[in-house]
């Protein structure tokens, strides 16, 4: 019997109705996944066209909703409960939410990319299901009460006749325990945000009390009867392959159950976690030497000079060289960004129970359905016989070790025929995770005689290998690769084809150009002469999306460069930005951040600052995230110790506009956390390596911002747009920090630093280069 049958039958017995109906054909339009829209960027699954897959109403009137977008620490679980309470007009505490379980919830692909708010809070998917259900219930009530639907009111899950409230019927009496048997109705009316009673309010998160008291069950706390503990033994160097495993080296280790080897994958299983660690440490494994790594010192030049590249043009007005040649002044700069890691505070963990014909995996994956497909490939099972149940782990910020450790647990459980829990050693996660991209970015502008920008040219190089496994590439993460699956193939392409449609998902296109492709302008700026050329290069390390992937790196370069240009023409950086923008909402966040910071109009560097001791300065940066998914501007105030090169961030002012705000306190929490994540990444985080292996393998060798570190005061300004679509908010603030800090350092000292992180050594070097 298939696993799904078990769970569905059990569920029907226990709590009302659920039919997961996945009729894929013809649902693209009804779900509103229009090509090119934010929710169609490949991160979403097909969802479901049937209302019963999303909403079930019990006989007691409780509403159970099923979502394919999971809580990652960003408050989405509570916000989705608010959404359902709002759309169905039921009290918040009468909503139950079931998230991300391949036997119970719709396939919504991956929870990532700041896409959950746009995907589930607009006019499709979960929000549309809520609206469809409310209207269907009102229709049922109209028949029951003998009154037209427009004469009915809904409150607290009870439908009543407006003129005679004594005539009423509760949801539970209308449909409790039965199914709707209707599709999502694209004409169902979502409530106007001005009518909201639950959504839009700072509802406290429902999971925090359990977290604060040690009661919350993370994936790390999943305990299955008969569960054993696994530990992996990763290769000692990049490119090393397995020669031999000496099982006699662990003979007699207490509790050892099995040594597991499959191609280059090596692991041990024991009765207790400590026993597994002992066995893994003692196991004698021989590996070939690694394949060697390019020098870190010259890595950015290695990228730039790589022969094999995949080239893409985002915009190309084909007049850039001509305009540069005729410009009154040309400004150039090169920016460098390191590999960085997700470096979750808790190392990745999964529990797998693999039996001969089926498997269950408890995982903190962002992608239960894609993981089901790839775990099935790893195990040689049919996907429908694999069940993946999401259990929250430590915050991931992108594709951390959650998927790879799920394969680890599955492989070890498969080998011993019993449930196995694996939590990675810190070094095993840090040395082998999918790093955020390094970048080298060349910027050039030509200026008019009046100081305005005539033409903007951007060219970048960044390394890629692997990424999210998706539905069919387990080799995109280390464990899949070790057992013989290949990462997605690198497809070189030179020259780049001319752009066909404008898209700015990576923020490769600066905010200040028109983004004109095929006669249509999708950008936010006024500069018409523009070229943006990017080169993907094969990476020696696995890479993958890390909070604001590429958007952060590109925004660092664009927003630092804009500040440099303004300084060249002695213009105020705020006024100079506004002069080149056309998008009113982007201008509004710039102005709001400047106002909150009491910004004084001036060119940089700040007049009167001394060249010794501590110098204070402020800088601004802004972004329209992914070109269409959230506006943010930040002003940073910093102190720079010109003796030591140490940068201390004193204050951050953030203005954000992500459409109608679903939960203002949740939004603030995201903006504050994103801002400090950005500070940590800008000032200290960098993956390091030698000629064989990664050397950033713990919190001494990969330096983050600790809770007691130099933590600035943060002020947030929320711009609530009651009209228009909900946008992402989890990745806006992190995107603008590095440029805001670099611009503030320049304002304070006159030294421009074009390489992240801004370590004291780099700051001192830049100070030494001042004229």
């Amino acid at each position: 019997m298939k696993i799904e049958d078990f769970s569905r039958r059990d569920f029907l017995k226990s709590s009302g109705a659920l039919i997961v109906s996945f009729s894929v054909a013809g649902i693209t339009d009804p779900l509103g996944l229009a090509p090119g829209s934010a929710s169609a960027q490949g991160l979403n699954g097909p969802g479901s066209a049937g209302l019963d897959s999303w909403i079930a109403i019990g006989a007691d009137g409780r509403v159970t909703a099923y979502t394919g977008k999971c809580e990652l620490g960003h408050g989405l679980y509570t916000a989705q409960m608010q959404l359902i309470a709002e759309e169905l007009s039921v009290p918040f505490n009468r909503v139950t939410l079931v998230q991300c379980d391949t036997s119970r919830t719709p396939d919504q692909g991956t929870t990532s990319g700041a896409q959950s708010h746009p995907t589930n809070f607009n006019k499709s998917n979960l929000a549309l299901a809520g609206a469809t259900a409310r209207e269907a219930l009102v229709q049922l009530a109209a028949a029951r009460l003998g009154a037209p639907a427009d004469q009915l009111a809904v409150k607290d899950g009870v439908v009543s006749v407006k003129s005679d409230p004594s005539k009423s019927v509760a949801y539970g009496d209308l449909i409790g325990g039965r199914t709707f048997n209707i599709p999502l109705n694209t004409n169902a009316r979502r409530k106007d945000s001005r009518e909201w009673l639950v959504l839009g309010k700072p509802v406290p998160r429902v999971d925090i009390p359990a977290m604060a008291t040690g009661q919350f069950e993370y994936v790390q706390n999943v305990r299955v009867p008969g569960m054993l503990h696994g530990r992996v033994v990763r290769p000692p160097a990049v490119g090393a392959t397995l020669m031999s495993v000496d099982e006699s080296s662990v003979k007699g280790v207490p509790g050892l159950v099995k040594v597991v080897v499959r191609q280059n994958f090596v692991g041990v299983v024991a009765e207790k976690p400590w026993q597994a660690m002992q066995a893994a440490g003692k196991l004698k494994v021989s590996w070939t030497p690694g394949s060697g790594l390019p020098s870190q010192e010259s890595f950015h030049e290695y990228l730039r000079n790589h022969q094999q590249t995949r080239d893409t043009l985002a915009v190309n007005s084909k007049d850039v060289e001509e305009k540069l040649a005729g410009a009154a002044m040309v400004v150039k700069a090169t920016y460098r960004y390191p590999y960085q890691m997700h470096a979750s505070v808790g190392s990745a963990c999964a529990v797998a129970d693999v039996q001969p014909d089926k498997a269950t995996i408890w995982s903190a994956t962002q992608a239960v359905y894609p993981l089901r497909s790839t775990a099935a490939m790893v195990l040689g099972l049919e996907p429908q016989n694999v069940r993946v149940i999401f259990k929250m782990g430590a915050g991931c910020y992108g594709v951390n070790g959650a998927d790879t450790v799920s394969y680890d647990a599955a492989l070890l459980s498969h080998a011993v025929g019993k449930p196995v829990r694996v939590q990675l050693a810190r070094k095993d996660e840090m040395a082998w995770e999918n790093y955020g991209l390094a970048y080298v970015i060349d910027q050039r502008v030509g200026l008019n005689a009046d100081g305005s920008i005539l033409t903007w040219d951007h060219e970048s190089w960044s390394p890629n290998l692997g990424g999210r496994p998706g539905a069919n590439s387990p080799g995109n993460v280390v464990t899949g690769f070790l057992i013989g699956f290949q990462p997605a193939a690198f497809a070189a392409r030179t020259p780049a084809p001319e752009p066909v449609n404008f898209g700015n998902g990576n923020n490769a296109v600066p905010s200040y150009v028109t983004g004109t492709v095929g006669g249509r302008s999708g950008g936010t700026g006024t500069v018409t002469s523009q070229r943006v050329l990017t080169h993907d290069v094969p990476s020696p390390f696995f890479t993958g999306p890390l909070r604001s992937p590429s958007r952060l790196q590109n925004t660092f370069a664009h927003e630092s460069f804009m500040d440099e240009i303004a300084a060249h023409v002695k213009a105020d950086p705020v006024a100079y930005r506004l002069r080149h923008l056309s998008d009113r909402r982007l201008m509004a966040v710039v102005q709001a951040a400047a106002k909150a910071a009491s910004w004084e109009a001036r060119p940089s560097p700040r007049a009167g600052n001394r060249r010794t001791g501590v110098a204070a300065g402020s800088g601004i940066a802004s972004v329209l995230y992914e070109g269409d998914n959230g506006y943010c501007a930040m002003v940073a105030d910093v102190d720079v110790d010109q003796g030591t090169g140490r940068v201390v961030v004193k204050r951050l002012f953030i203005a954000n506009d992500c459409g109608p705000i679903s939960n203002p306190d949740g939004l603030r929490n995201q903006l504050e956390g994103g801002a400090l994540h950005g500070v940590s990444r800008a000032l200290s985080e960098e993956v390091t390596w030698d000629d064989q292996k990664v050397t950033a393998i713990d919190w001494r060798t990969y330096r983050p911002l600790f809770v007691g570190g130099d933590v600035p005061a943060i002020e947030t300004v929320l711009i609530n747009q009651t009209e228009g679509p909900a946008m992402g908010a989890g990745e806006t603030a992190v995107t603008v920090v590095s440029a805001a800090l670099g611009n503030a350092i320049f304002n304070a000292t006159g030294a421009r630093i074009r390489q992240i992180p801004f370590t004291p050594e780099r700051v001192k070097a830049a100070l030494g280069l001042r004229q």
Partner: protein, 152 residues
């Protein structure tokens, strides 16, 4: 080897290798969820418990070294229904995101404030200087600690 531990006021006798770090006994043998494995190196704080009045990193503490000592874990402070005031302060300030690290943040701050009730802000920051939160809820956490300290 049989070792008796006093955890959250109750005695437990476990049969383990005496070199086993306390964390694994708490999370595996005693099935507690509060202390967590973050790094296994004593660098991040996720595994913190309070023993003999001190914040202790249980991932690098052999279980034999705390036999007989009073050990308090996060679940020993309060419950969802009746949180300890420091837990309540973190709930009131919504001072976490994924919440994985909050065990280390709360237990480290509690040990400091038990010992130094009038701890200054620099003292609090010093105590938290090797406690890690990767969601970067730092400002709310520091505010929650202050709220608890001021409210006593």
């Amino acid at each position: 080897m049989s070792i008796t531990l006093k955890v959250n006021g109750r005695s437990h006798t476990v049969d383990v290798d005496p070199a086993t770090p306390l964390l694994y006994v708490l999370s595996d043998d005693l099935a507690l969820n509060g202390p967590k494995f973050g790094c296994g190196l004593g660098q991040c704080g996720c595994c913190t418990v309070i023993a003999r009045g001190q914040a202790l990193r249980s991932c690098v503490t052999p279980v034999s070294s705390v036999a007989g000592a009073d050990i308090t874990t996060l679940e020993g402070l309060g419950t969802v229904e009746k949180p300890h005031p420091i837990q309540q302060a973190f709930i009131d300030e919504q001072a976490m995101q994924c919440g994985f690290c909050v065990n280390g943040v709360i237990m480290t701050a509690k040990a400091l404030l038990d010992r130094t009730p009038k701890a200054s802000e620099p003292e609090i920051r010093q105590a938290m200087s090797d406690v890690l939160c990767r969601c970067h809820a730092h400002t709310r956490m520091l505010r929650a600690i202050k709220r608890y300290a001021d409210g006593r």
